[in-house]
């Protein structure tokens, strides 16, 4: 059977029996999204990679006994990723990671533009990182991962109404934080 037509749930069952190809397909399907969630929550790439790796390690440990319980597999996996990140934030005791410094090639005529874009992105990341962790998670899931409020509620283990409340507060806080650069954001035409 072609793996690209096989359900996540079937792949998990295969992985649970030691099928490495099925495990590889699960990694291909979900690692980017898990990585994105972890990066938004933890704020730096190295920490996000470790959290993403731990998420999949928990999957491998659970695969043999994992059974669908109503929620989609992806919902379960993103919930694991979210919990891994929340655990790490609590241990770390802080919520802002180091900014990354993308390398700019010498002599690149677009270097200045890229630097400006990097600075704008850093400002946005700082605003995001300053949010309380559950507001940040709600924004990450809804805006960046495009999941529905219902699925976000399942992932976060809260009600839909609670997700909407978290989103509302997060939106207000982000808009306030980003207001000083609103014109710059609009003029950039989305080329950030």
């Amino acid at each position: 059977m072609a793996f690209d037509t096989e359900s996540d749930e079937a792949l998990v069952a295969r992985a649970g029996s030691g099928d490495r190809t099925a495990a590889g397909e699960l990694v291909v399907r979900h690692s980017d999204r898990v990585m994105a969630i972890c990066y938004r929550m933890l704020g730096e790439r190295a920490a996000a990679e470790d959290a993403a790796q731990e998420t999949f390690l928990r999957l491998w440990k659970s695969a043999a006994t994992w059974r669908p319980t109503g929620a989609k597999f992806s919902t379960w996996l993103y919930r694991v990723a979210s919990n891994v990140c929340l655990d790490r934030l609590r241990v770390r005791g802080r919520e802002v990671g180091e900014d990354e410094a993308p390398e700019l090639a010498d002599g690149d005529p677009r270097a200045d533009e890229r630097l400006q874009a990097t600075e704008r992105a850093a400002t946005v990341n700082e605003a995001l990182a300053a949010l309380p962790e559950r507001q940040r998670l709600a924004i990450t899931l809804r805006h960046y991962e495009g999941v529905s409020n219902i699925e976000a509620a399942e992932i976060m283990g809260v009600t839909v109404e609670a997700v909407e409340s978290l989103l509302g507060r997060a939106n207000r806080a982000l808009k306030e934080a980003l207001m000083p650069m609103k014109d710059e954001l609009l003029q950039s035409g989305g080329n950030l």
Partner: protein, 153 residues
């Protein structure tokens, strides 16, 4: 079940307005790279190989973690080759910030430029210049006092 407040795409209209959405999109999250995916599958192999054997699982896990830092060890070797043990490899391998920098390719550029500086006739002046280069580069990149990261010969 479809929530009555969800639109056709499953997203709640107005949850994130256009300006805010654009601002949020300014910072794209990095995709999972090949190295990370390899680490994930190495963990899978470890789980399969280690079933019923905690000791083996630990060994596989340790090997996986060590492999993760291999690029940094390479950098440490290079720097130590240039400066005779100036940088402690353990320090290099222990920091998440260094891993982040390594992922951006920072060390490759820094080491190359540092090597060029330090190659000034192998003199103490050249070495000092190279050391200053690294210290400045690390400070700028990390945005923090990196004095503790440097170990004198």
């Amino acid at each position: 079940m479809t929530h009555p407040r969800d639109d056709a795409t499953g997203r709640l209209g107005g949850a994130v307005d256009a300006d805010l959405a654009r601002a949020l999109d300014a910072a794209q999250a990095p995709a999972a790279g090949a190295a990370l995916r390899a680490r994930m599958l190495a963990d899978f192999d470890g789980e399969v190989a280690g079933a019923g054997s905690p000791a083996l699982k630990g060994a596989v896990g340790t090997a996986s973690r060590q492999a993760r830092w291999k690029p940094l060890s390479g950098v440490a070797d290079l720097v130590n080759g240039l400066f005779g043990g100036l940088v402690a490899p353990a320090r290099l391998a222990g920091g998440g910030a260094f891993a982040a920098l390594a992922a951006t390719g920072f060390f490759v550029g820094a080491a190359t430029a540092g090597a060029g500086t330090g190659a000034i006739a192998g003199s103490s002046t050249g070495e000092a210049a190279a050391i200053a280069y690294f210290e400045t580069a690390f400070d700028a990149a990390l945005g923090a006092d990196t004095e503790e990261l440097w170990v004198a010969q």
